[in-house]
Assembly symmetry: C2
Homo-oligomer: 257 residues x 2
């Protein structure tokens, strides 16, 4: 069986699957097939990519150079148990799933994790997104680097442990941060304002990360030990128990730093 030089199949039809495959196609890698458990989704993405939808893992073209598994974290191991290819480089795109979960899929396996939140209408410049890569051999790594290089200019090698730590840190710096924005927005709504009023402040705080470590940039009543202001804030939050608990926890953590 002769391998096509630049072909891939996509397993999954969500936002990450779609963005990666569109980006690959744009950069000269032909998407042959799209697999999804949900027929309709496979057909929709396949249509967008001018690829063939497939509904059984056994129907996947073994001549493809790359097979990209871009499904929910839980679903990766299911695919890992069933998918069997020979020489295709099979990678998953999860931040938390170990490479081992897909080790039986092919002689050549790896991970290609985009360190970015990818939502449906993300207008992403893929070139800017750090891609964390890992592979099961030097040969696989070299192939994976080619694949990753068509997507981004920032390729970082990270084994599964390192990738998990990075993912966990992203949950704090990104997901939890966004929840703090939600709390701020809810507080501002009562005054008929919204989070946009805080954007210059937030942007400055983010920009300062380029220069200093965040612990050096810490400001605010907790960092200053401004007890009167802290007391006033807790009073303002007295009917909002959960938010008050977060306020207390952070104030104490910042003061102990």
């Amino acid at each position: 069986m002769k391998n096509n030089k630049n072909t891939a199949v996509i397993i999954g039809s969500g936002n990450v699957a779609r963005h990666i495959s569109l980006q690959l196609q744009k950069n000269g890698i032909k998407i042959l097939q799209v697999y999804s458990k949900t027929k309709k989704n496979a057909m929709l993405l396949a249509k967008e990519l001018k690829a063939t939808p497939v509904f059984s893992l056994k129907g996947i073209d073994p001549s493809a150079n790359y097979c990209i598994i871009s499904v929910s974290d839980d679903a990766v191991s299911e695919i890992g148990k069933k998918l069997r290819l020979k020489n295709t480089l099979v990678v998953h795109t999860s931040g938390t799933v170990s490479m081992d979960e897909i080790k039986k899929c092919s002689s050549s396996t790896g991970v290609l994790y985009p360190l970015q939140t990818i939502q449906k209408n993300s207008n992403l410049s893929f070139k800017e997104i750090p891609l964390l890569i890992e592979a099961n051999s030097k040969t696989s790594l070299s192939t994976l680097k080619k694949l990753a290089g068509t997507l981004s200019a920032k390729i970082i090698e990270a084994d599964s442990e390192k990738r998990k730590t990075i993912h966990l840190s992203a949950v704090f710096a990104n997901n939890f941060t966004n929840h703090l924005f939600t709390i701020a927005n809810d507080l501002l709504k009562k005054e008929k304002l919204d989070i946009k009023i805080l954007l210059p402040l937030i942007k400055q705080t983010v920009e300062k990360l380029e220069k200093n470590s965040p612990s050096k940039n810490q400001t605010g009543p907790a960092a200053r030990g401004d007890k009167k202001t802290i007391k006033g804030h807790l009073k303002m939050l007295k009917e909002n128990k959960k938010v008050k608990a977060i306020y207390k926890m952070f104030t104490s953590a910042i003061q102990k730093k």
Copy 2:
């Protein structure tokens, strides 16, 4: 007594006092005097501004148009008890202190609160910083608007209650956010990485605030209900009790949203 047209005195010599007075001077408002309890600080800032240092509140020139009290939150009320001027517009620059604390200082009082973290070496474009203003009368407000207009293009009227809510929301969106960056940075250090690897992710999250409310932008294992990943994260944090407590609190809060 004849008022000078564009003159101000500064009470305080910290970062906010310095940045505001430099900016005023740049925009044609002459700084006559700098007062500070700490002689050395008054002299240093006065020298930079080519102003006169004063060490007693009674020494403040009553002919100045503006008197800007830019001291720590706790010190505003002390100044409020002692400073007595007649027609000078006296304002403080605090996010949390009520305007009433300085009501005896003059017939014309107000608040000029820059909604930005101002540190020593901040390279600030003052024009971008939202300024929250409040005044004790229509006349004072009109004078304060002129003063604020020389500093920024974004002037927002906010009474003391509204300003306090905005300040509290900024503590969540800015100070606490920075603490999450610190946690992320500490986790990454163990893998010889730092927070910079997460900057594209963080910047995207901030940019999305321009379009949607943050609750609509929430992503991550908590928002997805990805129990396996959450369990794995808690395991990774098992020796880091305080950080684990923050993880649990946020995961629960996001899931209840």
